[in-house]
């Protein structure tokens, strides 16, 4: 981690207008949970839909997508990355710092509302498990989206395709793809930490832990490799 890179990255991320897109999703999550409770429904009835269906299917991956591509993709896009690349810094240090900032911000924006929703459901153990799930998910998703930022010029589009098509559509039709889905790992881990009627895991817990780790390490290692050979193209000859 490099403090200066972290400072520039954080200020760049929170200073962009795009960051305000992050605010409605957590509010929606908490709002729906409050409405559900106000109508007198049992948490077991709405937990799966709001926590699994909205929280882990939409809120966490979308926040991770905006933040994960924002920490590096935007800088590559507007060319400011050259100021960081033209310094004698190991490329791994740059990637680790970017990933660290992205994971922290994502975990904050997704973890806090999930924790509150867990409390609304009346189960503190679940609330803490949801925070752990949010942190694990933030790390895995952000490593993927940081990698996409150095691999493609359209990281948001490719990332969205992964979240919507692979995890969302295919994950519901073909159970096989669930074994390659961050969302499923997170749900399995939360379910294992605090078994409840709120959320059910579809993938074995040891597999989830290992795969989440493999996902993160492999993506990060490849991202470092790609940053070493990132060509900065000129606008004119």
């Amino acid at each position: 981690m490099n403090a200066t890179v972290a400072m520039i990255t954080t200020r760049g991320l929170l200073g962009r207008r795009r960051i305000w897109l992050l605010v409605p999703l957590p509010l929606l999550l908490i709002g729906l949970a409050l409405i559900a409770r106000a109508t007198g429904a049992e948490p077991a009835d709405w937990g799966e839909g709001i926590i699994g269906g909205l929280g882990f299917t939409a809120v966490l991956p979308v926040i991770a997508l905006i933040v994960g591509t924002g920490v590096l993709g935007s800088e590559i896009d507007d060319g400011t990355i050259t100021h960081i690349l033209s310094k004698p810094l190991p490329r791994s240090e740059i990637i680790f710092t970017k990933l660290g900032v992205a994971t922290g911000v994502t975990a904050l924006f997704a973890g806090v509302p999930l924790f509150i929703v867990g409390l609304i459901a009346g189960d503190a153990a679940v609330a803490f498990a949801l925070v752990v799930g949010a942190v694990v998910g933030s790390l895995a998703y952000c490593s993927l989206f940081v990698l996409l930022s150095v691999v493609t010029r359209r990281p948001v589009l490719v990332g969205l395709a992964y979240v919507v098509l692979w995890e969302g559509v295919l994950g519901n039709i073909l159970t096989g793809t669930q074994k390659l889905s961050v969302q499923q790992y997170v749900q399995a881990i939360v379910d294992a930490l605090a078994p409840s009627d709120l959320l059910h895991g579809n993938v074995a817990v040891p597999l989830s832990c290992v795969m989440a780790g493999v996902f993160t390490v492999a993506s990060t290692a490849y991202a470092v490799q790609r940053l070493r050979t990132l060509s900065v193209a000129g606008e004119t000859g």
Partner: protein, 304 residues
């Protein structure tokens, strides 16, 4: 003292050759890299900066390759063509961040010195997004100089600068050159580099077309043929007088005025006021023909 060495460096994108077999050695002092837009200057500078791999050939700074070698930035300062900066930082924060990223022993002092060098202290606490183009350029130069590199590469540093800023920047570059640093800047505007005293490398269509003392190239530049359009109080009288000049190759008269083909830009522009005065003709308008830079450069190449 540092040397940038290029041996048969080429770079192509698919079928397009951007840089074609360039060999040059840059030593201490100021060197201008001139050429029209699209000549391959930026591609060449990107390769020198380690942002792009040469397709063929070797490119080293003091013997070390620049590609995939971040350590080379300890002795390399870069000012890229794209003026993208982290606009949310103040000028001082930006330069200080650079100093810290270079892991300098005393980043505050280094930043203060660099800001003084480019005369940016009065605006150092404003956010960069509020800066004018020339100020942005200077703050980027300060960030590139903060670690006192032995090699400084600048892509189109005079873009968007007014004449006073340009003069100051050129002065700064020369001071750095006199200190024994290797300074290379690119430009596509010949007139921009008038005060340069060092050597010049001219690139045209990816190739190194001419290189040498600036004075020699400069003479070729001012002696180039040129077409002028003139309106005066008595076009015909002026035409007769002009035809007597050695520096005039031909004159056409039509409804829009005189078209003068001068064989020597410098001599003609000095002679015209004298002739007009002598003949009692009032020159109302003198327009140099819209001459493309490409034609100037190809003239230089042909005259080598």
């Amino acid at each position: 003292m540092s040397t940038v060495d290029l041996q048969h460096v080429s770079r192509w994108y698919g079928n397009v050759v951007a840089v074609n077999d360039v060999t040059m050695t840059l030593g201490p002092g100021v060197t201008g890299l001139l050429g029209p837009n699209g000549a391959g200057k930026t591609t060449l500078l990107h390769m020198m900066s380690g942002f792009l791999a040469p397709s063929r050939g070797t490119l080293t700074v003091d013997g070390a390759p620049t590609w995939r070698n971040p350590d080379v930035y300890r002795s390399l300062g870069l000012v890229s063509e794209r003026e993208s900066v982290h606009g949310f930082l103040t000028g001082k924060e930006f330069v200080l961040a650079s100093a810290k990223l270079f892991r300098l022993a005393n980043p505050e002092e280094a930043a203060r010195r660099a800001l003084a060098l480019v005369e940016m202290e009065p605006a150092q606490d404003r956010r960069i997004e509020t800066y004018s183009k020339g100020m942005r350029q200077r703050i980027r130069v300060a960030a590139a100089l903060v670690h006192e590199p032995s090699v400084l590469l600048l892509d189109e540093p005079f873009n968007g600068m007014d004449p006073r800023q340009r003069f100051h920047m050129m002065d700064l570059l020369h001071k750095m050159g006199d200190d024994g640093r290797t300074v290379l800047f690119s430009s596509h505007i010949l007139e921009e580099v008038e005060q340069v005293s060092g050597t010049v490398q001219v690139m045209v269509s990816g190739r190194l077309a001419a290189s040498g003392e600036f004075r020699t190239i400069r003479r070729l530049m001012t002696n180039r043929p040129h077409v002028f359009t003139i309106r005066s109080s008595d076009d015909r009288r002026l035409a007769v007088a002009l035809m007597a000049q050695d520096s005039v190759a031909g004159v056409d008269i039509d409804a829009t005025g005189l078209q003068v083909r001068a064989s020597d830009y410098g001599t003609f522009t000095r002679a015209l006021p004298r002739i007009a005065l002598k003949e009692g003709v009032r020159v109302r308008r003198l327009l140099p023909a819209d001459e493309s830079l490409e034609s100037v450069f190809s003239y230089l190449v042909g005259a080598r």
